[in-house]
Subunit: 592 residues, 2 copies
């Protein structure tokens, strides 16, 4: 069975040495000193390690079952959910007026990594709720907030997001679910939604579905979509549960992974729903939550990599096989631990340097979200909007790759269920697909985000890189190992962006054929920036006489690997992009 | 449920237009004209499509079960096996004197692709037998051949290979299974073997296990390993089955994929075994079969990619979602098929250009094996020895990646069991691990094969590339799109090889830290050569007035994509290699 250790030391390093959060002026950040965040992370880590992680293989093996319309979650999930609820974790970053703890989103994200690494399928139940809570907070009327939020924040009730239908996922303009207006101001919702995560389960007393539907007579396509609150049990005026609403789970998907989470077909048969936000502006309402939702999926991607890497590392230290080429490392044993072999080492360094860089990026992203929301900082909000498709697309692609690498470290054991690594591969796979496939992320990046504010936001990113390099190039070690590769990567990124502007004007296929490579080029560049920042922080710590020099030396060595071994990928991505759409679009569909 | 179509037209193109097999002077090739190979491929394709493919999801869902020591294969496997046996497919390339059809290994491989794409787990039963037959053919005594081969070639009996033990997979010097000599010349075999594919099942009357074990008193390590024939049922002098031997299946592995194949723990409790080949030379006996076995796994890798791609393509043509950026492609429909979108197209082209290039490589490899065996051509044997780690390592890595890309084409449907693509991902994953992990392949390539014949073999490869370029650079289209990128890739490969010789002398970690990248650099270069050859063949066909110009135009367009979009990877691999071992080996094991 796999093991999990909460990487709180690495988290603290990013929060305090890199982001220096307690020096930031964002409202709510003033209390975030080292001991405060340590206490939270330790407590969350305990829950993750002791309660959630042991249930991860159980959830995978048992899955969810549907009987007479009721979904049973795997054994132990309900008890674990109650512990999470009682610990106040569900409303961690929710407003105090609805029972939450009003913590920054950054803290919610750090805690989230612990929960997701321990048990992704389980954590999705509250993850989906979190999205629904955000939607009601942002778009709900006062009465809607008062009716639903306190119970949802407490975790007594949960929430879902209902977008996909059989004929549409990406292209929501095609949805057919109908919302017929009723005399009392409510709507009758009818239609079928599929792939609804946590659509039905036995963890909470009520489930508050947020459903995209069309009010007849509205505009065609995405402009005619509205968002509705459709509770499983209607709520009486006194807050007690009333009638069962006319909705039901019509089936469970059988999936490659995340078996512990119920992925439901949801049937709405004239269910009572309440419009939330403006009529026909449902897509806009969804979009306002998208940054958080997509950052959360990017987090899932690398968090699966974190736990997979931990297990690969443990195996590589224990497993005796062959001898080091430079002389026996463990002469008293029948063979050396496989971590002595350069190719095993390369594999582990790829995993380690990715997950630590990814964590820095997601924490920075969450920090930007706080800056946007709590400090009303428009430029921070724009910057995170630019980064989001990269965070979601690049980190889930590479997070999945990391689980595959970790599985490879274990050789044949990695393929067996007994060792449990293969579950991380299967669970991580969905992150590249849901919340907008990674192809869609790359379109969002190239088609929408590059041009944000007339290109000013991406220019601000380049400026940030340039400034960081300028401020630090007096340090020769930092310059050679970190700043020079970062500069080269950033140049490749700018060249690619320039290519899109020029060649994309002639034929949009020239730009769109390179969108995926651009997303990865951007990803490597940002992770290069993250590593340069971490190297700077560790260099400062060493210069200032830290009491843990080994930690910082390791950080620097890990970063050097990423810069030397991963940043060269930007050259290949640029070369591909510059070939344009010619070879991509050459064939007629019939000729394939 | 996924579909499968036998790609016989593409196969015929490689056999006849590229390799021009009927013009080759290899014994047995003279009868291989177009209509002859067409007849074989059509017949095998029918079996694959009608019988094996429908059983693939059945095998995945049911898996194998162990009850009272007996393993039951999934429903339908026995009947399908009987059809395969009755069709004479099992002994296709075996000598006529033992009941085979003496076909070239190339034909066996082409047929193998069809069977593996249709149902990899099923085909492994006969695949393992094939390895055991080869071992007995090469190393068995006349009596052993007469006793076992006729029944194995016919398919009444099957065979297995028993190498791995709990404490060792890669490092076979650590094996503990013992073989005690008996007065009658036989041995008593005792020990436990794990991960034995097809170790026990209900498809055949007898199972002939080939088991690596140590005779007490022999040399330590790999030099003291011998190979034994250990039948499930002992064979009487008249060829009838005698006593049950003292061996049993002690358990089945629960695995990520290939559920239809029984992966067994095999316990040998003083089982009667017969030495095959020389005492203490068991490893050498295994090695002589390794080229074929590893080529077979490389084939499995891309063959899973083939069927995954076919299903991704079908989905992309059917699924309506969004509109083409250059104007509606299907204005009469609610949306365009997703194949219009450049990023979907890019994804499909990556799949298509890989599997077609990989097929050319494996067919060429099988052709070289025939040249070596049937024409006693030492240089062909050396060339395939050089290529084998690339065929196994590169094609399985990229074959797996191809299944992941195909899954991505399907979006959320790709994650569901209903569509069946996710099974290809799970099944393909093992090919990167077994028959020597891909890390081991890269060590074999850099540590052993590069220096083969004092480097003459790799020089012969470079010479072959050079000659091909020289002979064809008069064709400007071929030169610009194919020969120039091939030349650049080949130069990167030579530079990397040179780096290994120089830096590796100083510190072997410099070479070994780059072995994996070198394997991929080599892989892209070879696939570049394959595409250049295919382009040449298609160009010739068009110049000579083919009656199917569309086929050849498509081939050229697919090749152009590979050259433009995939060959730039050689630059990144070279850059990584040239950073040497410094960043890879920097950390102490304890510092990870």
């Amino acid at each position: 069975m796999p093991t999990y250790t909460a990487p709180t030391k690495d988290m603290q390093f990013i929060l305090h040495d890199v982001l220096k959060i307690s020096e930031q002026t964002i409202p709510g950040y003033d209390e975030l000193d080292r001991s405060f965040t340590a206490a939270i992370l330790d407590e969350a880590g305990k829950l993750a390690v002791e309660v959630l992680a042991p249930l991860n293989p159980v959830g995978d093996a048992q899955g969810c079952t549907l009987e007479n319309g009721a979904v049973r979650t795997p054994a132990g999930f309900k008890a674990a959910y109650d512990k999470m609820r009682e610990g106040g974790w569900i409303g961690l970053d929710c407003p105090e007026e609805f029972g939450g703890q009003n913590m920054p989103y950054l803290i919610h994200s750090a805690v989230g990594e612990l929960f997701v690494s321990a048990n992704m399928a389980f954590n999705m139940y509250q993850g989906l709720s979190h999205g629904a809570i955000s939607a009601i907070l942002t778009h709900g009327s006062d009465q809607q907030k008062a009716t639903y939020l306190p119970r949802m924040v407490e975790g007594d009730w949960s929430g879902t997001m209902n977008l996909t239908e059989p004929q549409c996922g990406t292209d929501l303009g095609l949805i057919r679910t109908k919302a017929e207006p009723q005399d009392d101001g409510s709507y009758k919702i009818s239609g079928q939604k599929i792939w609804i995560s946590a659509g039905e389960h036995d963890l909470t007393d009520n489930i508050i579905h947020l459903v995209l539907a069309k009010i007849p007579g509205g505009p065609d396509g995405v402009k005619g979509i509205s968002l509705f609150i459709v509770p499983k049990f209607l709520v009486n005026d006194d807050g007690t549960l009333g009638d069962r609403n006319a909705l039901s789970c019509g089936g469970l998907e059988h999936k490659m992974g995340i078996h512990g989470n119920a992925t439901c077909v949801m049937n709405y048969d004239g269910a009572t729903g309440y419009l939330i936000g403006e009529m026909h502006k449902g897509m806009r309402a969804m979009f306002t939550m998208m940054n958080e939702a997509r950052l959360g999926v990017g987090l899932q991607g690398y968090a699966q990599g974190v736990v997979a890497y931990q297990n690969a590392l443990g195996f590589a230290k224990d497993r005796l096989q062959g001898r080091a080429v430079t002389g026996d490392a463990a002469p008293d044993k029948p063979a050396d631990p496989i971590i002595v072999h350069p190719d095993v080492r390369r594999n582990l360094m790829m995993q380690k340097s990715f997950v630590e860089g990814a964590r820095a990026l997601v924490f920075w992203g969450a920090n930007l979200i706080d800056q946007g929301h709590r400090s009303n900082d428009k430029s921070a909000e724009d910057m995170i909007s630019l980064l989001i498709p990269v965070i979601k697309g690049f980190l889930t692609d590479k997070g999945f790759d990391t689980t595959v690498l970790a599985q490879q470290t274990l050789g044949g054991s990695g393929f067996t269920k007994e060792w449990g690594i293969e579950q991380f591969v299967r669970d991580a796979r969905i992150t590249m697909i849901y919340e907008g496939t990674n192809g869609i992320q790359s379109l969002d990046l190239v088609g929408r985000k590059l041009g944000l504010n007339g290109g000013k936001t991406v220019m601000a990113f380049f400026e940030m890189v340039k400034t960081f390099i300028k401020e630090n190039e007096g340090d020769p070690a930092l310059k050679a190992d970190f700043l020079n590769p970062l500069k080269a990567a950033s140049k490749d990124l700018q060249t690619a962006a320039m290519y899109f502007m020029q060649a994309g004007m002639k034929d949009p296929n020239n730009a769109l054929s390179g969108s995926y490579d651009f997303m990865h080029l951007f990803g490597h560049t940002i992770l290069g920036l993250m590593w340069a920042r971490m190297a700077k922080a560790s260099g400062d710590a060493l210069a200032n006489g830290t009491d843990d020099p080994g930690f910082h030396e390791t950080k620097l060595a890990t970063g050097r690997f990423y810069m030397a071994r991963q940043l060269p990928m930007t050259g290949t991505h640029l070369a591909r992009i510059q070939t344009g759409g010619a070879t991509v679009m050459a064939l007629e569909a019939a000729d394939f």
